[in-house]
């Protein structure tokens, strides 16, 4: 699914956590800029911009001071974000340094599953899964020990307002299940 930047795509993320009584959601635009910076603009239900680069993460939120997280001090975050960027660039060989990579395909649908090799990262991140159809990624799943996050990519997310994990999994797997 390697793309020539810049590319942008709408997203809707659902976050499940043991501290949440219902999934938290956010939607907006994801953009992979030509300078290699990943921009994540949340538009609803609040406004926020996250810039992810090789240097670190910058979080800009309306009415709050900007927060910076240099990747040097957060090695696990670095692995996760580097993995994500490698995926966007289609550099699977780089990914294999930090993850076991599995590719399942059925017809035009596919799923890439990344399992972290680093034990510290694995304590926080069980697996990273990207589903897609053809050259279009449709879904990003982050499985964590106490929760999960599902990011639906593309213009028309076909889910209820407050979906369950099962419904989201089903939605994400649909392209793979379809003939």
């Amino acid at each position: 699914m390697s793309r020539e930047p810049p590319v942008s795509i709408p997203f809707r993320e659902y976050r499940f956590s043991r501290v949440l009584k219902r999934p938290a959601s956010a939607s907006g635009m994801l953009e992979y800029r030509a300078d290699g910076v990943l921009v994540r603009d949340v538009e609803l239900p609040y406004r926020e911009r996250t810039l992810v680069s090789g240097e670190g993460v910058i979080l800009q939120r309306e009415g709050r001071a900007e927060r910076r997280f240099p990747l040097e001090r957060a090695p696990q975050l670095r692995v996760l974000l580097e993995g994500f960027r490698a995926l966007l660039d289609g550099r699977l060989s780089t990914l294999r340094n930090d993850f076991t990579v599995r590719l399942d395909e059925a017809g035009r649908g596919w799923t890439i599953t990344l399992t972290p090799l680093d034990a510290t990262l694995a304590r926080r991140l069980t697996a990273l899964r990207i589903d897609g159809t053809g050259d279009q990624p449709t879904c990003l799943e982050i499985a964590m020990p106490d929760g999960a996050s599902y990011t639906l990519l593309g213009p028309t997310p076909r889910v209820r307002d407050v979906p369950t994990r099962a419904e989201l999994e089903a939605t994400c797997r649909t392209p793979l299940a379809a003939p």
């Binding site: 501290v19 009584k21 956010a26 994540r40 949340v42 090695p75 926080r124 991140l125």
Partner: protein
């Protein structure tokens, strides 16, 4: 030699052996550089001296791994750090791979340490914090804060970690510190042993090297070490190995010289007796009075060779077939005694110099010289036996004597000395005095440069500008530091500095902790606030039980003290920045990236109980005030010396002839050194005194010998042997690898040559 002589010799040697064993057992050889540092006179100077030897920071070794690609080095760095963390010799090790962890037992205290709720209370801030956390969960950081959320919804730990993080950190490769060029991996390790505990440092260094060998396996990586403890070890090793080699070489040279001069092997052996006795007595005296002796003192002390070795030479050269050795000893005693007395007076100035190393040197020298002189006067005569005049074997002496007596001696020529001296003062390059303390310490300059470079790579705080807050109690000082915060914030705002750090950031005063404790909500109101805040949010209402428990614990916990930090990396930071001394408490405020020291001084000048230090200037003042004091002492010593000589010689013309060579030689040495661009330091002063003492001896004997031709030849023989033996020792020192010893060697060598010829030409009365 008669049988009585043998008995005396045997008894003497036994006594020496016993003394040697006692000295060897009692005397500790120290490498503490502070022994050679001037005694501090005010707070700033005390800090300078403290920073060299005592502070926890001085136990830090800065390590660099090099010689392999960065990826390999970063693995080695991790392996070495892991291994050192298990070592009993090291207190802590850091390589950047892990930010210092807040100890679990201290976690509830974050609410007493943080300043986040000083303006608005926790209950006021909480709803907003929960809203932020809800948004954080649906951000790329979500998976990383989720683990801490139930316990720390305001992210106080993150806030403290950011606040405690060094302002700037070295570059990281593979998660560990590296130099900017990525060629060397950097580590910092603190030894348990103090910097100048040479035995402890040696154990730590051996342990470090063993662990490195184990870790590095077959790789070609090498380890560079820097730090006060390492320097102490290097200095000790160097001084010891050089002292050994010089000692052996000097002994062989002297024995050969004595054999050549007297053609009696016995004389060569007996000649060593006063020196050995003097040295042992001197060491015993230092051991008794000081407990330990500095390696450098020892090296200096053996320059005694130059002076004490002369005493038996005077006796041997003046022996006559027609005279008993006792009578000869009585005959050479007056000039010998005058020489000993004057040299001792000069060294006594060092005894009150306030520099422990110099006082040790004075003690060693004065005791050694007195014992060596007494040995020559009272023990040697019974051992040498009757001997034909040695000078008979050297007919050349007579020719030299006559030739030297015939040399033209225009007094006007002597004016060359003060004139060239004045020219050197006026035109020589560089400063007359060396004020840089780092150059006065015996640490090799290359090591100091490497140290400075490593410190800059490790982004340590500014080494030159430092503030000290002083007060009667620890709490008073902490409260002053807290009151200083707004000023520091303003200084950062104005761009004078980039950041500042002090102990109250880790350990707030008890008053402030108590205020924060009282401001924390009780469990009921905290639960009410949480319930209200979570009611309309996505959060589970009971998600934050661990948080409630921590706040409840913080409200009633006994106040945080520095002992709570024991065993954590923060311990070192606090104890090096907050300490008691002489009944007063002091806290250091360190600065990062000082851009405008002047503006900072103006701004912080208004703060009570605070002194802004310029450490470089303080150390320079320390050195120069010390020197002024020593020069004053030497002035008094010179006056005393002139009085002693006047009392001994009783005639102004004689006194003048005896003092002239020494004074002119001193001028010559300074002229030569300054013309070569050398700035003078304490060690040059010591050498000048030593050279002056030699000059005085030469002049006294030449002056004494003037009357009789045979006596003149005997004196010439004695002084030639003296001068050559001294030159032998000091010319060797001039090749030492230690800059200080080299300086002494050069200075004294010039002094010996100049003194000998001037004494020969000036001190002797025309026949």
């Amino acid at each position: 030699m008669k049988s009585r002589g043998w008995a005396v010799l045997a008894a003497w040697c036994l006594a020496l052996a016993a003394a040697a064993i006692a000295v060897d057992e009692k005397l500790v050889i120290s490498a503490d550089l502070r022994l050679f540092m001037p005694a501090p006179r005010d707070a700033a100077q005390r800090l300078v001296v403290r920073s060299v030897g005592e502070s926890p920071a001085s136990r830090l070794l800065l390590l660099e791994l090099k010689g392999e690609p960065a990826a390999r080095l970063s693995e080695l760095s991790k392996a070495l750090a892991g291994s050192l963390a298990r070592s009993p010799e090291f207190e802590f090790v850091a390589n950047g791979s892990e930010t210092p962890r807040f100890p679990e037992s201290l976690l509830p205290y974050r609410y007493l340490i943080t300043d986040a709720f000083d303006a608005a209370s926790l209950t006021t801030e909480l709803p907003r914090a929960l809203e932020d956390r809800r948004h954080d969960l649906t951000s790329p950081l979500g998976s990383f804060i989720e683990e801490w959320l139930p316990r720390d919804p305001t992210l106080e730990l993150l806030r403290l970690a950011e606040r405690w993080q060094p302002h700037r950190e070295p570059k990281r490769v593979g998660g560990v510190w590296f130099t900017r060029d990525e060629k060397r991996a950097l580590l910092v390790a603190a030894t348990r042993a103090a910097a100048f505990d040479t035995a402890g440092q040696a154990r730590a260094l051996d342990d470090l090297n063993a662990r490195l060998r184990e870790v590095k396996g077959a790789t070609r990586a090498t380890l560079g070490i820097n730090g006060a403890g390492y320097y102490a070890r290097i200095i000790r090793d160097r001084t010891q190995s050089e002292a050994t080699w010089f000692g052996i070489a000097a002994t062989i040279g002297l024995v050969a010289l004595l054999w050549f001069a007297y053609r009696r092997f016995r004389f060569a052996l007996l000649g060593a007796l006063p020196l050995v006795s003097g040295a042992l007595a001197g060491l015993a005296a230092v051991g008794f009075l000081f407990g330990s002796v500095h390696g450098i003192t020892l090296a200096f002390g053996f320059t005694l060779i130059g002076v004490a070795q002369d005493y038996p030479v005077h006796l041997f050269s003046h022996l006559r077939a027609t005279e008993s050795p006792y009578a000869t000893a009585r005959r050479v005693w007056p000039p010998l005694l005058t020489g000993v007395a004057s040299t001792c007076i000069a060294y006594l100035a060092f005894l009150v110099s306030g520099v422990t190393g110099l006082a040790q040197l004075a003690c060693l020298t004065v005791t050694g010289l007195v014992v060596a002189a007494l040995t020559t006067r009272f023990a040697l005569p019974s051992l040498v036996g009757a001997d034909p005049e040695v000078v008979e074997r050297f007919p050349a002496l007579g020719r030299i004597d006559i030739a030297s007596a015939r040399l033209p001696r225009p007094a006007a020529l002597l004016a060359v000395f003060p004139l060239s001296f004045a020219a050197a003062l006026a035109f020589a390059p560089g400063a007359f005095w060396e004020d840089d303390l780092s150059r006065v310490t015996p640490v090799p300059p290359a090591l100091l440069r490497a140290d400075a470079e490593l410190r800059s790579e490790l982004a340590t705080p500014d080494l030159r500008t430092l503030a000290v807050v002083s007060g009667p109690t620890e709490q008073a000082v902490l409260e002053d530091l807290e009151a200083l915060e707004p000023e520091l914030a303003r200084a950062i705002e104005a761009g004078h500095i980039a950041a500042a750090d002090h102990a109250a950031r880790y350990l707030p005063s008890e008053a402030l902790q108590r205020r924060r404790q009282q401001a924390l909500p009780d469990e009921t109101s905290l639960r009410a606030t949480l319930a209200a805040a979570t009611q309309n949010s996505d959060f589970e209402p009971d998600a934050f039980e661990p948080f409630i428990a921590d706040v409840a614990r913080a409200r009633v916990a006994p106040l945080l003290t520095r002992t709570a930090f024991r065993g954590t990396p923060f311990d070192l930071r606090i104890s090096s920045a907050l300490f008691a001394r002489d009944g007063e408490w002091h806290a250091l405020v360190s600065f990062y990236d000082v851009k405008d020291a002047g503006a900072l001084a103006t701004q912080l000048g208004r703060v009570d109980n605070l002194t802004l230090l310029d450490l470089k200037r303080a150390s320079e003042e320390l050195v120069s005030s010390q020197r002024t004091y020593i020069i004053a002492c030497l002035g008094v010593a010179t006056a005393l010396l002139v009085i002693v000589i006047s009392l001994a010689l009783r005639r102004a013309s004689r006194v003048l002839r005896v003092l002239a060579p020494m004074v002119l030689t001193t001028l010559l040495i300074i002229t030569v050194l300054r013309a070569a661009g050398v700035s003078l330091n304490l060690f040059h002063l010591i050498s000048l005194i030593l050279a002056a003492g030699l000059g005085l001896d030469y002049a006294l004997f030449f002056e004494h010998s003037a009357a009789d031709a045979g006596e003149r030849r005997r004196t010439l023989h004695a002084l030639l042997v003296c001068a050559i033996s001294t030159l032998l020792v000091f010319a060797m020192l001039a090749f030492s690898s230690t800059p200080i010893l080299r300086a002494i060697g050069v200075t004294v060598s010039i002094g010996v040559l100049s003194n000998f010829f001037l004494a020969l030409l000036v001190a002797r009365e025309r026949a």
